[in-house]
């Protein structure tokens, strides 16, 4: 099992036919995005049809796991009891390299919340929440430099 940052009681994702493949890849620590095989556009969350070209053909495209912080919030209220000793924590929307227009929600860990900034470069790190569930979190990139954004 990986290092742990969040408690076991965090909500478990509900999945459907469109999203199941993403979670299967995640369980194997593969960060993927749904890519249209007709026009190449990426989309997230996964859906049944490409909003750009309306093709229903798609594939799971593996990403390098690097990106930058598009926006964030420092959560200071424990919305579930077991977070009481884990607040504050940082939720981010991350702009992923190789997945234009397909930002994802995640967390920034291993950082003082007052140091978080929009544009900060981040790297993926996996947290195993259970035997079949792994979540991609992010930590500041080793060579953290702000992107151009």
């Amino acid at each position: 099992m990986s290092e742990r940052w969040f408690p076991d009681e965090m909500p478990v994702p509900a999945v459907n036919a469109e999203t199941n493949g993403w979670w299967e890849a995640a369980a194997h620590h593969r960060l993927v995005v749904q890519r249209c095989t007709a026009c190449g556009a990426t989309r997230h969350p996964p859906g049944p049809v490409c909003p750009t070209c309306r093709s229903t053909a798609s594939e799971w495209s593996e990403l390098p796991g690097t990106g930058s912080v598009f926006t964030y919030t420092v959560v200071r209220q424990a919305f579930i009891p077991s977070l009481a000793d884990r607040i504050p924590y940082v939720v981010i929307a991350v702009e992923l390299d190789g997945a234009e227009g397909a930002r994802m929600v995640s967390n920034l860990i291993d950082i003082d919340p007052s140091d978080v900034a929009i544009g900060m470069r981040v790297d993926v790190v996996w947290e195993d929440m259970g035997p079949h569930l792994a979540l991609p979190r992010f930590r500041p990139a080793a060579d953290a430099k702000e992107s151009e954004r």
Partner: protein, 416 residues
Amino acid sequence: MNAGPGAARRGACLVGIGETRYAKWGGIAETSEYQLAIAAIQAAVADAGLSMDDVDGLASFADDRNDATFAAADLGLPELRYATMSWLPGGGGACAAIANASMAVETGAAEVVVVYRSLCQGQFHRFGQGPGGRPTKGPARVPGLRKARTLLEAHLGFTMPFGMFSPPIAYAMVLQRHMHRFGTTAEQMGVVAVTTRAHAARNPRAVMGDRPMTMDDYMASRFVSEPFRLFDCCLENDGACAVVVTTHERARDLARPPVEVVASAQGTPRGFGHGQYSNVGMPDDDYTSAGARTVADRLWARAAGAGVGRDDIDVAQIYDHFTGLVLLSLEDFGFCGRGEGGPYAASGALAWPDGALPTNTHGGSLSEAYIHGLNHVVEGVRQLRGDSTCQVDGAETCLVTSAAGVPTSALVLGRR
């Protein structure tokens, strides 16, 4: 208000309003949410000077637990000819429900439609809380993935496990980005909270009417999710309200001065999806907006056809689940430029009676009550009857907006 080129065709009218008492969540335990809905409908029909025998349609919006079919039977409607619930989520459909009722009476599908909303967050769950509003119990072990029952639930699978539990967290991220791009400040958001609290102080229905707030109070309130403090977030309430919609012809003979639906619009721009609560991948200009830019363009075009321009608006009821989203709505509806919502609010524009655009004259969801914004429509009617506790002198036009950051809707109401 001038009779414009489209004035010959008169829109549907809002002829009755009804409200129960409003209370903090859990404050109404002796009456069920459904009983409150029935009470609000009865009050609105009585206010219009109509009988339940005149009502032939019911309309509401997303996730309503109080089915129109049961209500029609229980209220003894002679015949139910029209029953709709808007798909626009959360509070996004309040104005859309009015618009849908208006279209029903204008096409003859029905003649008298009551739009209603009842919320007892104490009896069900508090929207501002975590998953389902229930403390998570059970074994300290993730049981594996489960099957989503709805499309939204599958989308929230990409947010909830990361601790984006509730709307204030999602929309705090929107305002963080807005601050980054445009320099919006906490004090500018605070102006919305403080101004509408002052309006509520004059309103005997307002849940927070006896709780004055200064800017120091605002700044001292605890952070929920930065940059949102507790006082950036709307209330969680128990209560219900209803609005009666009928034709212009029928409205002329009723008890109250009719308020006309001058224009309406609903929807989203391309790529906006269900809004920033479940979608962070939309274009930046939409992400940092209320999602109402296309709705606003359509609304103003239609209002212009009826002889009403944006500059003619006398008073506004802007959906206020969060202070910051009011700033974004003001931008989307064009009362100020992109990124200028903060300075516009800070100029005093929203304050009754002297601001350029007195806004949320009942106190809004931040200070009157959170009834998914249908109470904003009720206040719009009250302003145009001359009955508001923060009455804008001679008000003839009112903008009402429904939600922000989700698919949204809006109305221009008029008196003429």
